[in-house]
Point group: C2
Chain length 206, copies 2
DNA sequence: TAGATTGTTAATCGATTAACAATC
DNA sequence: TAGATTGTTAATCGATTAACAATC
């Protein structure tokens, strides 16, 4: 615990968690680093090494109890309880994100939605009220929201990020196709489908 | 060109391209590895090293001409011309993806949409017709579609992937929260917002 | 017990960075 | 020319893998 754990290790834990949940759904109760590795295209040694940073979760000869390992990984990642998320942007993309049912049971819930359009303020998105940007600081700081998603055009993404951070947000998932400048205590992740697509076309030959 | 270029290098090129396009939009004509690196939080040495895999795109003393470097990177990534994309799944998420305007001018266009629901077949999504799954093989193989996106529930994602690959698809962007098993000649990328969120909460302390 | 699989060490492999000659 | 920045080499750093003793 003294030496900090490489971020690349942290980045694989959610993948393991997702695979474990699927194995559990399929009725499995126990798995091994070899089986998990085959599912994910990762070497068994890497999985064991990654997990060993946090403790010995398995048993020699038998492997890992799925339910137990799942609980442990949830604790490590701090997703045993639900984080309330603030979503900024209620356009096509923001609406789809707000309606996405995949957050439930994985540690997150979209709890507040903001949009700069005066025409949208007060309207509803599913069972959520859309708040104007003027309310952002008050709500986020009072409710101590730490996690946010940005689904606004690239041009306004940076200023939205600044406002979120000023209100206390510590983790931002940015759907706008632009790099954000943030202080060191804030984490940012990006979702840009084009980046992924461009990364694959390189390999497509005639 | 004989030694294959590391995938991690390829994965950064779209990021560089996106930053260059933004600089161009902001009226810049020239940049340097140092400036680009500051924007992206990457060392200038890494940027120069990455680019040098493909040729000398800059000039000592002055840096890189943005327009020229942009063209070169587009060629390397094979996105000078537009790829037609097949989208499978026309639910909330698929609809938002189909309507997303960020593909234009970045090398991609959603050209065909498929959905398994009989109720949706023949309906329109924007200006695109929704085809039934039965048409998938015929259309994708005849039009030689090589790139596809999957926006169906996790339970059916693998069989959709199998069908796409059988029809000739070589690159899949998967929005379903599940790992796909694909043959070696097919590339897969994943978009799962929860994975990104879980990767950040680890770092949030009280 | 015999077989299987973990956790961990050491070896290998690969990626990043520092430094600088080349040169615009 | 003097200053700046590239492209590239060598050094450093870190991550992955192989191997195996420990042990269930």
């Amino acid at each position: 615990m003294t030496a900090s754990i490489p971020d690349i290790v942290i980045s694989r834990l959610p993948i393991y968690l997702r695979a474990l949940e699927r194995l559990a759904q399929d009725g499995h109760e126990v798995t091994s680093s070899l089986e998990l590795g085959k599912h994910l295209g990762i070497s068994s040694a890497q999985i064991r090494k990654d997990l060993s940073h946090f403790g010995g979760f398995g048993k020699q000869g038998t492997g890992y109890k799925i339910k137990y390992l799942t609980e442990q990984l949830r604790q490590v990642l701090k997703v045993e309880q639900e984080w309330e998320i603030a979503l900024v942007g209620a356009g096509d993309l923001g609406s789809a994100v707000a309606r996405y049912r995949g957050f439930a049971h994985r540690g997150f819930r979209v709890a507040y939605v903001f949009d700069s359009a005066a025409s949208k303020a007060g309207k509803r998105l599913g069972n959520l009220e859309i708040y104007p940007m003027e309310k952002l600081h008050e709500i986020i700081s009072e409710r101590q929201i730490k996690v946010a998603m940005i689904a606004v055009p690239a041009e306004s993404a940076q200023q939205v990020a600044d406002a979120l951070i000023a209100a206390g947000v510590r983790a931002i998932l940015n759907y706008a196709p632009i790099n954000l400048n943030v202080p060191a205590h804030v984490r940012v992740q990006y979702i840009d489908p084009v980046i992924h697509l461009q990364r694959m076309t390189y390999y497509i030959s005639e």
